[in-house]
């Protein structure tokens, strides 16, 4: 038991590693604050393209979505970070994370929002257009608010996944929480920093997990 505490819950090491873990935690928050909106923008664009517009564009949007849902995000990230420089395109770690998340989480948000838009009855668009609203206005004021509400549990759940996914940025050496924890672990030969990082992730994301459960139960009860 003492051995366990020494290896995993070591107060001295935690005190020592605290400053860089805290920095990593803030970095993770910043990453989430950037990748979630990026993914949402990509998702809205994809959802609009795959629900309106000519058939060819709808099919192209669906193909794009499937493509980036099939490639693991880490593969995409490694490709952007380590592969592209061979072609003389160096987007850097930040660029790789931004592009990778835009493509990957955009595809997931897009799929969720598409389902939301398709869940809004056709009469809503007709009613809005019949009062003189343009297509864009109808989408913005009438269709999208209902679409978002209809798939809110899925949207929040996807957001949880995006925040969790920021941990793969450690692979391209961005100093977020997991990366800093690994650094501290390497320096101290002790697992406590990683346990601390796990606890931090849990405390950050547990409320979101509870919220999703509540939303899903509510959606289930409403059926």
């Amino acid at each position: 038991m003492e051995e366990f505490a020494f290896a995993f819950l070591n107060g001295d090491i935690l005190r020592e590693a605290w400053p860089i873990l805290w920095q990593g935690f803030l970095y993770t928050l910043a990453l989430a604050a950037i990748t979630v909106p990026l993914g949402l923008v990509g998702g809205v664009v994809l959802a609009l393209l795959s629900t309106s517009g000519p058939r060819a564009i709808r099919l192209a949007a669906a193909g794009w979505t499937d493509l980036f849902r099939a490639i693991p995000p880490l593969v995409l990230l490694v490709f952007l970070y380590a592969g592209l420089p061979f072609a003389g395109i160096d987007v850097g770690a930040w660029g790789a994370v931004a592009i990778g998340f835009f493509l990957n989480t955009g595809a997931y948000y897009g799929e969720v929002l598409r389902a939301g838009i398709e869940s809004v009855p056709r009469g809503q668009m007709e009613a809005a257009r019949s009062t003189g609203l343009s297509r864009g206005q109808a989408l913005r004021y009438v269709i999208l608010p209902q679409a978002v509400r209809n798939v809110l549990p899925d949207l929040v759940s996807n957001t949880l996944e995006v925040v969790k996914l920021t941990s793969i940025a450690s692979v391209v050496a961005l100093p977020e929480l997991l990366f800093q924890a690994r650094q501290a672990q390497n320096a101290t030969y002790n697992a406590t920093p990683i346990v601390a990082a796990a606890v931090a992730y849990f405390l950050l994301l547990w409320p979101l997990v509870r919220l999703i459960s509540r939303l899903e139960n509510k959606a289930l009860a409403g059926r």
Binding site: G123, R129, T131, L133, Y141
Partner: protein, 262 residues
């Protein structure tokens, strides 16, 4: 209005009424090999109430939905209030706010209160400021007898009340003509009266109206002209007394016999 020609008349408006405000000519609409409209003409005078009846699949709803271009006709021309609706140069959104439409399934926006439902187009199409839009919406909702229910969401209203909000949403834009697509078909019988009352009042205020409906009693009492459609064609038209009393066409007779049995 006892024109002897039974078949394709030019849809002349009843005498004594104003100039035509809706003038649709030679409308064709096909879905693949199936022609739903086969060169239909319809002209509606200012302040006139035209009733369109016919069996299901006769094309009457399609005709109505062409009049604000929710359906795109394949051929023909439509003038509303002097504007050529099908011309590519026409700003369809500007034109549509002069044409109110009421749907069978109400199509209220469920995420907005009654008042917000009415205000949306006032704000975004007519560009009214909030205070003005609120006042106009309140007046429109008063007109349909729902002043007390302005801040209710559609889910908190009965079907009849929802349909009256939908009418308020359309009349708030001060349209030149109102289109009603089976406005009472989705309502429980005891709620139909309230909606018909509102329509009657609109008529008294001089609103031009085109109504697709099975409310034959209302048609008899309130319509200036009744149009009978079957298989994508206008078979005959005339004052309600004539269409219901002495229809010329065998199909009209059969249809009215069947309706009266209910």
């Amino acid at each position: 209005m006892t024109s002897p020609a039974p078949s394709p008349s030019r849809g002349a408006p009843a005498p004594g009424l104003g100039r035509p405000i809706v003038d649709a000519r030679g409308l064709w609409k096909r879905y693949g090999p199936l022609a739903v409209l086969k060169g239909v003409d319809l002209s509606v005078a200012e302040r006139e109430l035209v009733f369109i009846i016919g069996p299901s699949g006769s094309g009457k709803s399609t005709l109505l939905r062409c009049l604000n271009r929710l359906e795109e006709p394949d051929d023909g021309s439509i003038h509303v209030d002097g504007i050529e609706l099908l011309s590519p140069r026409t700003d369809i959104n500007a034109a549509r706010r002069r044409i109110g439409m009421v749907f069978q399934s109400f199509n209220l926006y469920p995420h907005m209160t009654a008042r917000q439902n009415v205000m949306l187009a006032l704000r975004k199409v007519l560009r009214q400021d909030r205070a003005q839009a609120e006042a106009v919406a309140a007046r429109a909702l008063e007109r349909v007898g729902l002043a007390e229910r302005m801040d209710h969401f559609p889910a908190q209203l009965s079907g009849g009340q929802q349909q009256r909000v939908a009418i308020a949403r359309a009349i708030a834009l001060e349209p030149r003509v109102m289109l009603f697509d089976e406005p009472t078909s989705a309502l429980d019988p005891e709620l139909v009266g309230g909606v018909l009352n509102v329509m009657r009042e609109l008529r008294q205020d001089g609103m031009t109206m085109v109504v697709v409906s099975h409310e034959m009693a209302f048609a008899r009492a309130a319509a200036d002209r009744v149009v009978f459609m079957a298989d994508g064609e206008k078979l005959e038209e005339g004052p309600p007394a004539q269409i219901f009393g002495e229809p010329r066409h065998e199909r009209t007779r059969a249809f009215i016999r069947q309706i009266d049995r209910h």
